[in-house]
């Protein structure tokens, strides 16, 4: 087991280092950051001086090593726009994104679990078809459009919820629904098919034979086992929520990492882009790592094959 954890950990580390190289390379492709930082009328001597000061006269691999070395100590440079350390900005915005991602995940499970279980129990009936149709619809709607529709209905027409912003639980409702809508389909499918497997097993038949009531069998005995595949996949969905947050945060003016990165992309604020995307990637890799490890715990065969 230790060997398996170590191997997965090394893979995760390789991914993060590779991601940092890729992020660094892409942001360097965009041209000389010095020209963006200085006013256009700045004299050539000042441009050269700034370039030397920032280490931009070094070869690219050297620049990467300097970048990586500084990044390890938490120094991503100062935001061009906000005049504060990029890392501070990112860490300041991260909790809001995590809050949103968790809320979205809870929302999607709150729909997917009853849908999945009921679809399996009432396989082939209208309930099953309704669940399927609902899920297909969710996968065909872009999350930002769901967000706009929610604003249109619940903020503008019904005036139940604030259209954007952050602070109270009411502000969280619409962004979480917009973001959590998409994974409902996949989660419903997972629950449904594992539930079908479990319902077919001997101990459920046994329970039925001794006359245990249906709801006890379904929710107490069958669902607990059927939920395992979903639990192991939670990391993957959490990662997907982080990725989806980029657009949803923009729509709802949510003060999270996604919106910060999108704004930084527009203002070419590369220290913030680099720090923001790298942090999202680290969270991404960590949640996938947790998924791999939980598989290993549950299914010993995977540990061996590693």
């Amino acid at each position: 087991m230790l060997g398996y954890i170590a191997k997965r950990g090394v893979h995760g580390l390789v991914s993060i280092v590779g991601a940092s190289m890729l992020i660094f390379a892409i942001s360097r492709l965009s041209g000389d950051p010095v020209l963006l930082m200085l006013p256009p009328e700045a004299p050539q001597s000042l441009v050269d001086e700034t370039r030397r000061h920032m280490g931009l006269d070094q070869p690219l691999w050297m620049q990467y090593l300097i970048f990586a070395g500084k990044a390890l100590t938490g120094d991503f440079g100062n935001s061009y726009r906000w005049q504060m350390p990029a890392l501070d900005l990112v860490l300041d915005r991260l909790p809001a994104t995590i809050q949103l991602a968790v809320a979205a995940l809870l929302f999607s499970m709150a729909l997917a679990i009853p849908f999945g279980v009921l679809s399996a129990v009432h396989r082939g009936t209208w309930i099953d078809n309704f669940g399927k149709g609902f899920a297909m619809l969710g996968q065909a709607m872009p999350n930002f459009w769901v967000g706009l529709l929610l604003i249109l209905v619940f903020a503008i027409h019904l005036e139940w919820l604030p259209p954007f912003g952050h602070g109270t639980p009411a502000h969280l409702v619409m962004p979480a629904i917009a973001l959590g809508w998409y994974p409902v389909a996949a989660q419903t499918r997972i629950i449904r098919s594992s539930m079908l497997d479990v319902l077919d097993s001997d101990y459920i038949r046994m329970g039925r034979a001794v006359g245990a009531p249906d709801w006890v069998l379904i929710w107490k005995y069958a669902f607990r086992n059927a939920a395992i595949p979903l639990v192991t996949m939670l990391g993957v969905y959490f990662a997907a929520m982080l990725g989806g947050a980029f657009v949803v945060e923009v729509i709802f003016a949510w003060p999270g990492l996604g919106r910060t990165v999108v704004e930084a992309v527009f203002s070419r604020d590369f220290p913030v882009v680099q720090a923001g995307v790298l942090f999202t990637s680290i969270l991404f890799v960590l949640s996938n790592l947790l998924v791999d490890l939980s598989y290993g715990v549950i299914d010993p065969r995977i540990r061996r094959d590693g």
């Binding site: 893979h11 390789v14 991914s15 993060i16 590779g18 991601a19 890729l22 992020i23 892409i26 942001s27 492709l29 965009s30 297909m136 619809l137 996968q139 065909a140 709607m141 872009p142 999350n143 930002f144 459009w145 706009l148 529709l149 604003i151 249109l152 503008i156 499918r189 449904r192 098919s193 079908l196 990662a239 982080l242 990725g243 989806g244 980029f246 657009v247 923009v250 729509i251 990165v261 999108v262 992309v265 527009f266 070419r268 882009v273 923001g276 995307v277 999202t280 990637s281 991404f284 890799v285 996938n288």
Partner: protein, 295 residues
Amino acid sequence: MAEASPRLPRGFLAGLRGRVGATGLPWVSGTMLLLVVVAALFGEAIAPHDPNGFNLAAAFKPPAWQEGGSLAYLLGTDNLGRDVLSRIIAGARVSLIVAAYAIVFSGVIGALIGMISGYFGGRVDAVIMRLVDIQMSIPSLALALMIAAVLSPSLSTVVIVIAITYWTWYARIVRGEILSLKERDYVALAKVAGCGTATIFHRHLLPNVMNTLLVLATLQVGQVIIFEASLSFLGLGIQSPEVSWGLMLADARNYITKAWWTITLPGVAIMLTCLSSNLVGDWLRDTFDPKRRQL
């Protein structure tokens, strides 16, 4: 059905002919997809107005069935008096062009890399799969935003960005298929008979992953359309005067209190297109790949 469907479809079309008609769903969704394709191909002829022709006197006309609407603007007009229906038709073209190019590029690159990775195994495989892991560790929209910020936003940028984002998907799945295919006797025999690697790839491996590739490509259409719409919505995708559904939603967002139809209708176009291509994709998968059929 007159003839019993063969257990193993010999060709893609033969399989299709044998199995269509089992359920009505593929017909409905297929027809819908066909409508989108027709709109994309003949949009200029069908569209009642110039999609970019603005007319401020006709701004914010509601759809025809609402009070104040007129039959001249069936689905209403936007803030500049542009006809929403004509713009949705024009947007179909951009969506499908982006989807077609992006899917072909990512499919070809991904399939080739996946075949190489699976066939040669060992170090080649390890390196390629690490690269896939690295790319997949960056959220695709974040990666796309960075690339789109570096290249200037345009239709070809969107295609490049999506192709770069999605090749890993094909590479992983094709690699998995090749891992089992290469153990088959006919591949070993071909090697013994002195076939070159290129011949084995082309004659023996590619035909066997072709069905999977086609299914993947169909299922990807919806995702690509949503991805393009998201990028365009953020302002890093398709640029005006080109028309895109995502761009229409971005424009409409500022007038959300004033014109509900400009917010809803382009989204409905996205939804119906994705829904029908997903349904067709699901149906193709069930038809050609019973192993992966969901219960």
